[in-house]
């Protein structure tokens, strides 16, 4: 339901600002442009999505994902206790977390989606506490080596583009912790109401 409020608010504010600033022509064409770019973006990620779904399938078939799952089980068992009971969901989440740590955002999304789809089965459109937690984990960044940012810094003339690493790790750790803590507090608060 939050997305409904966000969407309505953004579109209505755009209309008001467009009217006030005389930018309405630009707003109108931006609406169509945005819709078009959404399909373009989807198509451009289609190949990557299919590729990593395929790689995950291979990893499942040859037992690699079980090994990976074993590595992350101690943490994930606490974070997602119900989902971890299903071996295939645990495998997908483990692969998602590994891809995130490696900074392979394009690979992490299809793997995370795979887990989310399994976790959403039989919940009739309502996100469970654990699914919320998985999504919050993925909206926070946990990558160890931010390669893209380093390349942007290098392009801007920076001599040591990786000198920000400790700062990135500290900020990431704080942000993930607060996100998971907020999810936990909010799920408790709402249940009591």
């Amino acid at each position: 339901m939050e997305m409904a409020w966000v969407w309505t608010g953004m579109v209505t504010l755009s209309l008001i600002f467009g009217l006030l600033s005389g930018n309405l022509d630009a707003v109108a064409s931006a609406a169509l442009e945005g819709a078009r770019s959404a399909v373009e973006l989807s198509l451009s990620m289609a190949g990557v999505l299919c590729l990593w779904s395929g790689v995950m399938e291979i990893m499942n078939a040859c037992g690699l994902s079980e090994g990976l799952a074993g590595l992350f089980r101690p943490i994930l068992r606490r974070l997602l206790p119900n989902a971890s009971k299903d071996p295939e969901t645990l495998a997908a989440v483990s692969a998602n977390v590994s891809a995130n740590l490696l900074g392979l955002g394009n690979a992490a999304t299809p793997l995370g989606i795979r887990a989310a789809r399994r976790m959403a089965k039989g919940c009739s459109g309502v996100a469970s506490d654990e699914l919320c937690r998985l999504v919050v984990l993925n909206t926070a960044s946990i990558q160890l080596i931010p390669a893209t940012i380093a390349s942007v810094r290098a392009a801007a003339g920076c001599k040591a583009p990786f000198d920000i690493l400790p700062a990135v790790w500290m900020a990431s750790a704080l942000s993930v912790t607060v996100g998971l803590l907020a999810a936990w507090l909010l799920s408790r608060g709402r249940r009591r109401l």
Binding site: E2, M3, W7, M10, V11, L13, S14, L15, F17, G18, N23, A26, A30, A31, E33, G34, A35, M45, A46, C50, S53, G54, V55, E57, I58, N60, A61, C62, G63, T109, P110, I113, R114, A116, M119, A120, G125, V126, A127, L131, C132, V135, N138, T139, A140, S141, V152, R153, G157, C158, I164, A167, V168, A171, S172, G179, L180, A182, A183, L186
Partner: protein
């Protein structure tokens, strides 16, 4: 050669070699998984059309700049440099947009300036929140997202404030 270009080819070949060693038909598994990827894609498109239409209108109307100005004093209180306000607003909705805003900040303030470093750390410690939420819940068929949005935004805000704090801590301001 870039070291990070090593990761993907090595990963692909390692998985294939290992699978073949276990006598798994890796090619059949790959195409079967890819087929599943396509069905997921069909469910992502509607969510992205909704999100990107609104974001694109919002930026074109000038509402984004107005919001940046509005937030600047509040950001100051949190120790976040007000110059980074546009980055904060773009980051949750557009990865490429955020990269563009951050490169702009680095170019105008210098990559090793306080603002330049904060912008880089902000990029590295946050994600494209609304895009992620739209894609995950869209593909899983979830309509009631419950507390996900507030929790994710709390994480983002913490990431931004922590980025400014961490840069001050490690580099001075």
């Amino acid at each position: 050669m870039n070291l990070s270009s090593l990761v993907i080819p090595v990963l692909l070949s390692a998985v294939a070699v290992y699978g073949l060693g276990k006598r798994v038909d890796v090619y059949a598994a790959l195409t079967h998984g890819a087929e599943e990827g396509l069905t997921v894609l069909l469910r992502i498109v509607p969510a992205l059309v909704g999100l990107l239409t609104a974001v694109s209108m919002f930026r074109a109307s000038g509402a984004m700049e107005w919001l940046s100005g509005l937030f600047a004093p509040a950001l100051d209180l949190l120790g976040i440099p007000p110059e980074t306000a546009p980055l904060l607003l773009v980051r949750p909705v557009s990865g490429n947009g955020a990269l563009a805003v951050a490169s702009d900040l680095m170019a105008s303030h210098g990559p090793d300036s306080y603002i330049g470093r904060v912008a880089a750390v902000m990029l590295g410690s946050t994600e494209t929140t609304f895009y992620t939420i739209a894609v995950y819940f869209g593909s899983a068929g979830i309509t009631k997202t419950r507390h996900t949005v507030p929790a994710a935004l709390a994480a983002d805000l913490t990431g931004f404030a922590a980025a400014a704090l961490a840069v001050r801590l490690f580099f001075g301001s």
